[in-house]
Amino acid sequence: MADTHSIIGTKNKKGQTYTDTWKMMNEAPRTPSFYTGSEVIKEAIRRASCDVMIAYPITPQSEAAALIGELFAEGYIGDYFRGESEFAVMSQCAGAAFGGARVFTTTAGPGTMRAMENFPMWSGARLPIQMIVTCRGINSPLSIQPDTLEIAYLLNTGMLVWHAETAQDFFDWILKGYIVSEEPDVHLPLALCCDGFFVTHTKDVVNLTPADMCLPPYDPYRSPVPCMDMECPPVRMMRDPFVMKSNYISYATHASWQQEIWAAVERSRKHTIHWLNGLIDTENTDADIVIVASGTAVSQGREAIRMLEDEGVRCGLVKVKALRPWPEEEIRQATKNAKHIFVPEFNVTGWLAKEIRATVPNSQRVHAGPHVCGGMTMPPEIIVSEIKTALGMKTFSMAGRGS
């Protein structure tokens, strides 16, 4: 099988040129295009040299999943089908990845939860599957509205977890995500999350790489575990089937493998920093007040900062791009001057604030909020109001909010 380097510059069956990823992402000309987030997912996958995509309908990812089907019909993807449930789809993705394919799928909210048993299995089996999570409510009564609670459940699966703010992030990170995920010292699945509707269903100008360039194909033999295709020796994998045995060797084997998964998450740090230009972005972190956020809460935070500036309150911003690996040192550094750290979130429990509290010294500086959930939008005014209240400044009451 041709290795990745010798294939650069050759063409695939659609006439796209396999291109060095760094050149494609950082040097190739970009075309501004006005697309929905779902269309941007399609355009990224058009350039991703995917072998298999497996789809299932659930709002708000259905459109993206169906658009990938169009790519299959056009011949850009090796195989594509609709599975019968998210649990099955994630297992089908696993099967395809075990067989050496570059795999893509998308899900949301209750689908993420239904499929949950698969995710630690994906990491444990070192399958570099990419899953787009277009977050939505998972509560009962039924909700299809944006809400990021499901991300909290993904954080301890051993998957890489990134949280995109914009459609541009999405486009770039889908492509870069495969490169980080498939590094032999990482070889882990990636949950690439965004806030459903806000990113998937709104139009934005996104700068696209040329459509005639695509990622080098996945090489399943650049892997820490054998590919299940009978192209390499079928070694007996274990002397004893210790998997379910109750003895010290069994415990030690399982323990060391779990440690290895999290070591691989750690090893992804250097690649993620390289490709995403850091795990966080920062603005004005010398200010007394810093907003730390991920996803579209970053956009709302940025707007709140502009509004506060008009009132003479200076405020910094930390955009958390990667949640796993967790940017512990980066967040400590970026908030070292802050007297107040605000964490606006689109979920009821405030999982990001909890992570940050566990990260920074003097965690009483962390204000967990504002929170909105259940599909509510987060007007920048409520972030402004939260900050001014904490500072003892007078705020306008917000109609209908009972304050």
């Binding site: 072998d51 195989d79 099955a88 089908q92 696993a94 099967g95 009978m230 070694v235 004893d240």
Partner: protein
């Protein structure tokens, strides 16, 4: 033939485990007419196993692995249960991921192998217990058949959850008293062979593993039909002697008793029309090959 894939570097030969050396020396990868008769004269594709003494499942494993028509290009998919104690000792690539998702794994796997190796044979064979196939995994079992996924599903039917200690399963007989069926199972054994036929399987067999020659025949047929036409299903009785109160040496008799004409494991098969045609063609080719070999042998001795 693909034994070159398992060759050992000369410099490392003496440090390889002896069972691996044996695989290289005398396993039957690539042997055209491999079958159960190779057992005893060649290295089997299963090493030691940790099942209970006398477990019919161990016989089933040995016959199946001896009979796969193309083990050098076969990937097996298992599930959680007693079978998952055996798979680590099986010398074809095999996957365990979760309980019940075996037919979903196999669907993705078969498609990936078809994308990656166009024009080459890569067989996929699922082997799981009845809890995995019929209870927790039923939706994925059936949906793979509805989609006409081209792989073989083998169910080791021991009519209960053996590995967790003998609980009621959907394939348990009605009235059987077991854990979680304290007053006896209240509904009939699920009729999966019939469901398989109605769900689009092209070759369905319900039998025991008492006769190795029969196991060899149905495995070869099931794999060939799945490769060329569509899904196939084998339901094999592998009684859990431990949980039905039998002794180690009684497994074979239990199977013989259960395959009598009026019993629930009397041999039953369904073959679709396209599958019948394929099997007839394969049988004709086989006959031709044997006749040619005989002629050649005759010439040599003349």
């Amino acid at each position: 033939m693909s034994k070159e894939r398992i060759q050992i570097s000369e410099a490392l030969y003496d440090i390889m485990p002896s069972d691996y050396q044996d695989l290289v020396k005398s396993a039957t990868y690539g042997k055209e007419d491999r079958g159960w008769k190779d057992i005893g004269t060649s290295k089997e594709l299963i090493e030691q196993h940790s099942l209970c003494a006398g477990c019919p499942e161990s016989m089933a494993f040995r016959y199946i692995l001896a009979s796969l028509p193309n083990p050098e290009d076969t990937v097996m998919v298992g599930s959680t249960g007693c079978t998952s104690l055996v798979f680590p000792m099986v010398a074809v690539h095999n996957i365990h991921s979760l309980f019940g998702n075996q037919n979903a794994i196999a669907s993705g796997l078969k498609r990936a192998l078809s994308v990656r190796f166009p024009g080459r044979v890569k067989d996929v064979v699922v082997l799981a217990g009845d809890g995995a196939t019929v209870d927790i995994g039923l939706d994925m079992t059936l949906q793979a058949w509805f989609r006409q996924e081209k792989f073989t599903t083998i169910c080791f039917d021991n009519e209960l959850y053996a590995n967790t200690g003998g609980q009621e399963s959907g394939l348990m007989q009605k009235g059987f008293v077991a854990k979680m069926a304290p007053v006896g199972k209240l509904f009939d054994k699920v009729r999966l062979p019939e469901i398989a036929r109605e769900s689009g399987c092209h070759y369905v067999v319900n039998c025991t593993v008492s006769k190795p020659s029969l196991v060899e025949k149905v495995i070869r047929n099931a794999v060939h039909v799945a490769r060329e036409i569509g899904p196939t299903y084998l339901q094999l009785y592998t009684p859990c002697i431990l949980e039905i109160g039998k002794n180690s040496m009684e497994g074979l008799q239990e199977m013989r008793d259960s395959e009598k004409p009026a019993e629930r494991f009397a041999y039953k098969e369904y073959i679709s029309e396209p599958a019948k045609q394929l099997l007839a063609e394969l049988a004709a080719k086989d006959k031709e090959r044997k006749a040619a070999a005989k002629q050649l042998a005759g010439q040599a001795s003349a």
